[in-house]
Symmetry: C3
Subunit: 338 residues, 3 copies
């Protein structure tokens, strides 16, 4: 499969310099591994040196990089656009569309579709999916193999749900049963009577779980992107265009704003609110509501084990060290040595 | 579907005040979103102000809140009980039973049941489950869609296993093979010859994994509740009525007591013991055995990123700061200023 | 099933002392729970006291422990080998081979195998697996039930892939779309055009996910062992014989060396490099490349909750405490008390 450079310009805009629109591109590649059949891109000016030495046939660049792109020693072309990385993203989509895509059945015969499920004519349901009673899948959405969509849960339009995802399992709700109760001490199940509602243009990574609400619904708004192995508890609301990396856990009834990002392995405790535009670093634990947009972090810095052991041990005395500093500060100070 | 208030009293006890037993309830709802068709509950006195303003037809309250519940401006009824939250839990169960529940096949025809599996007549096996050779499922237990129950593993009575769960995959056991070995340096598999035994009234969340034991069995005792994406290593024992929130990891051969709670994302290292009644905060890492009941924590507090960076950088010098404080304390102290 | 001691010697080497090769062994067991039908092992000299009191028929020991093993009060035999734990691992394999193993179909009839998938004649594909178009499985590899192997992805020889694994879901790649774009602010998908290549002798735990690469492939080298619920991002490379415990997350484009170990729940951020022989403690977060072999850690020590609260609160002032120590150190010091 080859795509002439002109097809990118026709489909995605941008200005082509230094090569004919008929020049054939066979792959997309990073600057350092690109060869003369490749289209590449420069997104970050700190990789300028790679631009100078790349073997790529053509490089997607911002206007400020045009001169440098055209002056490379090996020669070569560039496509100039204000948003090179966005242009690259759309170029990957163009390549994907050009790949040979044999059409399987719209609903794979091995999928289990229960009564009263509503699947749009243009939605695709992969092999061995389970779509429970009353669930709904909107136009253009794709469920890859082995997805569970629980009873009464809904997915909007143009969503992509990867293999192994479970939408609509019961939220984790139990009331403590005292020893005085006839059934004895233990946990009494709170039946989860809500569902999950997922908006449009949402992508959900492999083996991620989104629980149904206890009374009301769990809600994932339009444009949300969740990576693999993410856990979304019951009655959580995730605001539009928020993205969460792998292994994030969001506990029940948390409300996450729009256009937030949550780094891999981070945890958001239950019943908290995050404002729009909050960015949480990887592996940080959100223990209080964050009402102001910004970048928040909380993770123990890694160190060689011996140093870590010494510092971690001292950490257990930190409060008392502060008291000792206070005591030292209270000592009378001489204004000059005697 | 509507349920008259009297049906709750008949099934669950409590005293109804301020309304006729024939008053019809159509939903359960939190105080703040309840309307005149709703039954609601007050579990925590800090939400008293919501009680005063709720539109709920009836509110489940403790005896001390009865007067307040009946004096609300909009009028309204209450059900008085010593354990409002437990009563609410049982009310969700009543609603669940009243919902239209079309009966599918007891063992879904798409499930794969291997030879010599023993499934009780009253157990339910969902779509696309795999029940391997010699596995057992007890009376009244429900496996939702796409569960794997491994060879020789057993589940007790009245358990609920959510979609995507894997019970009885191999534990993670390897012996290091030195370079001098004929097979070269690497890892030699320790075959996992044990199984998993799960007691009664256990609930297991979506995509959670419980590994089979190496020589003996991995054991989950009665009444344990595990949330989604939890990892239980080989030969772990989880004591009765212990609950673990999402994304918890318990490494091999750990022994967790009864009536413990483990917060989301926490990690328990291998070969440790936790006493009964130990409560671990979310995202904390248990690195030593805990022999005394209580509440234990260890997580880095979140902060704005700039403050975190400064404190985290200083943390790497913490031990040396302690030494500097010691040195300062050794300095001779004047008893009074000159 | 019983195995005479001599069969272990014949198959695995070692010297048998104190018993006849015809003595029948029915189980493997740890020293403390072994009975007179058991073969056990002593790997760590700190368990010497268990050796003295074990009821095991025979114990696998290093040469230095031979005398102690033979002098036990109850009598008993030993197998002497330089690597007792490795010998034990191979003994588990011998037991596994002796167990009754009814042969199911090589490719389970419920598995979905798409066109142009290449499955070696000796590979085993479990129930309800999905092998997508163009995927390849090498000789002797076993996919347990409910595994997804994505389009164009490959698995080498003698691999073991546990239930629920997803290989070849899309990597998490999106370009930010500014509000000025015709489609509005949000995330534009970067199609993931690479695949996943897995070497020989790799084991992958239940519900683990390995994403396909964006442009190039994600690569798992020979002999790698991944536990359950591990997340491997796109374009990651994991070096030969590296082992990762449960719930580890490795973000995109990280390069992990050979013979590394990563403890449970640890996180490796994207685009980092770890040298060969790097060992990361459980729950630590790797935020920078580590170019030197060694043992690295970074986790907050657990404490009783009240102590943790005091220390964690003080941690937010740590940088200012350092400044206060500096100020104290600048105070003039008397050389001797007045």
């Amino acid at each position: 499969m080859v795509i002439p450079l002109g097809s990118f310009i026709d489909a995605l805009g941008g200005q082509l310099h230094g090569a004919s629109p008929s020049l054939a591109i066979s792959r997309l590649a990073p600057l350092e591994s690109a060869d003369a059949q490749c289209l590449s891109f420069l997104n970050n000016t700190k990789y300028q040196s790679q631009l100078a030495s790349t073997q790529a046939a053509c490089v997607i660049v911002a206007p400020a990089m045009q001169a440098l792109a055209l002056s490379r020693s090996g020669g070569g072309a560039c496509i100039v656009t204000d948003e090179p990385y966005l242009y690259f993203a759309r170029a990957t989509q163009l390549f994907k569309r050009h790949q040979h895509q044999p059409q399987g059945p719209r609903i794979h015969p091995s999928a289990v579709i229960e009564d009263a499920a509503q699947i749009h004519d243009t939605a695709v349901i992969g092999a061995l999916c389970v779509i429970e009673r009353g669930a709904r899948v909107g136009a253009g959405s794709v469920l890859k193999a082995r997805v569970t969509l629980g009873e009464g849960c809904s997915i909007g339009q143009r969503c992509m749900v990867h293999s192994g995802v479970v939408i609509g399992a019961d939220g984790f709700g139990f009331a403590a049963r005292p020893a005085s109760d006839a059934a004895g001490a233990g946990w009494e199940k709170i039946e989860q009577l809500g569902a999950v509602r997922i908006g449009d243009d949402v992508e959900i990574g492999a083996n991620t779980c989104i629980d149904r609400g206890a009374l009301d619904d769990t809600v994932i708004e339009d444009g949300v992107k969740l990576d693999n192995l993410v856990q979304i508890g019951h009655n959580v609301r995730v605001g539009a265009h928020t993205a969460m990396a792998g292994c994030v856990g969001v506990a029940g009834s948390a409300t996450i704003g729009a256009h937030c990002t949550v780094g891999g392995g981070a945890v958001v405790l239950g019943h908290l609110a995050l404002a729009d535009g909050v960015h949480i670093s990887a592996a940080s634990v959100v223990t209080r509501s964050i009402l102001k947009p910004g970048h928040y972090s909380g993770l123990f810095p890694i160190d060689d084990n011996a140093s870590w052991e010494k510092n971690a041990a001292t950490l257990k005395q930190l409060h008392s060290l502060r008291e000792r500093i206070k005591d030292l500060e209270k000592r009378p100070e001489r204004t000059k040595p005697t």
